[in-house]
């Protein structure tokens, strides 16, 4: 075990948090192995590692959700027992979870004081909270309307409420678990400004993430975890993304996608004047026209919620639309009986949906049941007219899992038991192996670890090189820039313009994503 190094900050002060020899096992799985770490006060400390590396377990121990099998915790130099989250709060630790724990129909104020009310009457607590909120808003750009209910707020604002909750409880140490997973680039930048402000006021921040860019941008020191062990703790200034990636994965990783220039062929997908009005009467797509050719990846860039999801849903066959879509020259039914997912699949459209938990997978189904999801009517999966051929499906799943390096390669395991990256590989294996003419891909690497990202990108490029058309939707600009052969930017249900990756840059795309065009908007 390498010895924990001192992590920056004032050398004389006691570390804000010190963990010594923390170990935790779940059955045969050693989630944390003899972990020691020191985080100095007034610093932002990153913890980076692939999914399943043990980051969340470690933080859950610090927050009192799990009890460590061995090891000690020191807060501000004092040995502290943290049996539950109440004790963690008392010790000055605040946690912002990946999935927010807010009451949707309560106001911001009510959420902030919830569980920390002083006495039976709410009014004094609310007044106090309101005053604090005003101060914090001024100090750290933590602006949220205190009287708005949570369901009126954007995700970024909801996250600020979580931070405010922790600060209201006088947290000196703030732990954020994958905070940018749900944020747009500008929201993420705003969050980082807030975090830096808090650090400058002397708060200690632990940032758990698997995104190298964030680590490089915002942290002072960074610890890398791999398979339950802390493999290194370094000053961020002394390291590089490539080195961190190698430490995380245990081997060299390609951070750029390796691909040859595209050789586009015939138009596979031709969209003209596509319009969608949703259930609430809001116009989500405003007469969009696009095309994707064979052997080409069209990347759709844009901040989440600007119509990309609706576009994928229409193409996937589960949202009605107006206008026209042609696939290989053949008109597709957009409203009638044939506008369903089964028909689309039969026509050669495969779809890796944006949200694998809500759409792409049935989490309680086995891997082999998920491997035919959407294609369960295909003749090769039927034993006879009545029954499905479960043995054949299992065998085929095993082969696909091997080809897509799904770990563990067990068809009889429930989808929920796989890590995010492996879940995504299951979906990808299912859709790509159908050898579709058109592949729709939404957020292919959301919540996926670095090793798997590389693999997923390679698979998508390989399908392109087979001469298939690919429509890629991603909110990660890096991903669009490195994968796409042509980029269309969406804003407010419109296509703001098309660019070639070689002839554009993040700044120009960023402006388009915000709805700003110097030239008149294209097609």
């Amino acid at each position: 075990m390498p010895e924990a190094k001192t992590t920056g900050g004032a050398a004389s002060a006691a570390p804000a948090i010190e963990l010594r020899g923390i170990s935790k096992a779940f059955g045969p799985v050693q989630a944390n192995k003899d972990i020691s770490i020191r985080v100095m006060p007034g610093t932002i400390h990153g913890i980076i590692g692939e999914n399943g590396a043990g980051k969340s377990t470690l933080m859950s121990i610090l927050y009192g959700f799990y009890k460590a099998d061995a090891g000690e915790i020191f807060i501000q130099g004092n040995r502290t027992e943290i049996p539950d989250s109440q004790a963690a709060i008392a010790a000055g630790i605040g946690m912002v979870f990946q999935h927010f724990k807010l009451v949707e129909n309560f106001t911001v104020l009510e959420n902030v004081v919830l569980g920390a009310e002083e006495g039976a009457r709410l009014t004094p607590s609310l007044a106090k909270a309101r005053q604090l909120l005003t101060e914090l808003a001024k100090e750290y750009e933590l602006n949220v309307d205190p009287d708005a209910t949570i369901d009126e707020l954007s995700v970024g604002h909801q996250q600020r409420v979580e931070i405010l909750k922790a600060l209201y409880r006088k947290a000196d140490i703030l732990i954020l678990d994958e905070p940018t997973g749900v944020l747009t680039p500008s929201e993420a930048d705003h969050l980082f400004r807030i975090l830096k402000g808090l650090r400058d006021e002397g708060k200690t921040i632990i940032l758990i993430t698997h995104k190298l860019r964030e680590i490089m941008e915002v942290t002072d020191t960074v610890s890398v975890m791999r398979r339950g062990e802390m493999t290194a703790t370094v000053k961020t200034a002394d390291t590089s993304p490539a080195e961190l990636a190698e430490l995380m994965v245990g081997r060299k990783v390609l951070l750029r996608v390796d691909k040859v220039p595209a050789t586009p062929g015939e138009k596979v997908l031709d969209i003209t004047d596509l319009g969608v009005i949703d259930e609430d009467g809001v116009e989500r797509l405003k007469k969009i026209s696009l095309n994707v050719r064979a052997g080409e990846i069209l990347g759709i860039a844009g901040v989440a919620g600007n119509g990309q999801s609706e576009l994928l849903e229409v193409l996937g066959g589960y949202r009605h639309a107006t206008g026209s879509i042609r696939l290989n020259g053949e008109e597709i039914d957009l409203t009638g009986r044939a506008s369903d997912g089964q028909t689309r699949r039969a026509k050669g459209i495969s779809h890796v949906p944006e949200d694998r938990h809500k759409e792409g997978l049935i989490l309680d189904f086995f891997a082999w049941e998920n491997m035919i999801f959407g294609y369960h009517h295909a003749p090769e999966y039927q034993k006879n007219a009545r029954f499905m051929d479960n043995d054949a499906i299992r065998a085929e799943t095993e082969a696909k899992m091997a080809r897509f390096d799904v770990r563990p390669p067990l068809p009889g395991l429930a989808a929920k038991s796989f890590s995010g990256g492996n879940q995504q590989k299951i979906v990808l294996a299912r859709e790509i192996e159908r050898d579709p003419d058109l592949l729709l891909v939404g957020q292919p690497t959301r919540g996926v670890d670095i090793g798997a990202i590389e693999f997923i990108h390679q698979q998508i490029v390989a399908l392109r090189d087979k001469g298939k058309a690919i429509l890629l939707v991603s909110v990660e600009l890096d991903e669009i820039l490195s994968l796409a052969d042509r980029i269309a930017v969406m804003f407010d249900g419109r296509i703001m313009g098309e660019r070639l990756p070689a002839e554009t840059n993040e700044a120009e795309l960023g402006l388009l994503m915000a709805g700003v065009t110097e030239t008149a908007s294209a097609a």
Partner: protein
Amino acid sequence: MDVIPKWADAILIPLISILLAFIISALVILAIGEDPVRALQLMVQGTFGNSAGIGFMLFYATNFIFTGLAVAIAFHARLFNIGGEGQATLGGLGVALVCLSLPWPHWTLALPAALIGGALFGAFWALIPAYLQAKRGSHIVITTIMFNFIASAVMVYLLVEVLKPAGSMDPASPRFPEGAHLPRMSDILGAVGIPFSDAAPVNVSFFVALLACYLFWLLVWRTRLGYEIRAYGQSESAARYAGISPTRIILITMLISGALAGAMAINNVMAAERLVLNSVEGAGFIGIAVALMGRSHPFGVLLASLLFGFLVQGGAEIDFWTNIPRELIVVIQALVILFTGALDNMVRMPLAKVFLMLRKREG
């Protein structure tokens, strides 16, 4: 990772729940000054002490298997069909109409026909709430409850005004023809030389119920339809992505559910050999408890049905031989339902902790 192993989830939790229900029942019996040990002895002896007791238990269990499966199939699509009672009531009407319509020459012809009649009527009664749910978003719990009341009122009207033979004082249909009488367990087992009491109404329908369990299992875990039903039940958004029509699944699942509940009538109505008022006697509601306790799996439903068959039969014995009032039997049944259904987590959570501790000690 699931904390509780599968075997414990399927066997240990129900057993502990039943045990808790019995302990509290014992306390209640003590509180009214009776002897709980004697009560339990009576229940066991009255059920397993002679073949008639077993026969009655199996007869009740047959009803519960049908209604339990009906609720279970709906559970797989995450639909809560509380209308088993009404669907079984209508199933009774279907069975009675079939049995009375022809001078059936032999039960082997009457049984399949009556089964179809009962299933069709039950399915019809489930179709309307299903349609309202699928097309109009009316909550199926509310509509199926209301349809129970409508079914009961329809039955009173039909028995009093239409089906009752002229001059009869009894709100019941005429007796079914001889050819529509089902062979009882005593006839079936007697044919192979095993003596069985002919006092109990258990009949060939029990085997139909067992067959239904097997077909249920095939449907849910071996067919495309079952796959789609389970997929829809687990995640409606994923089902839509996969091109599975929610409307279609809701309608088909509820039709199967109603048909299963309606099919129950081949047991209770054909054994009674005429249609009477309130022939279902709450079996539709017990089906909910049976499905919950059986974890919506046909084997679990079978075991839970036998348990509730035992409770009903044992309860009748207590009522007969002691001063413990009949209502207390209902209390015991209610406690079993409460513990196995509603208070599932009360047992599950501590048990999860125990398993976690055991695992830690190993590791």
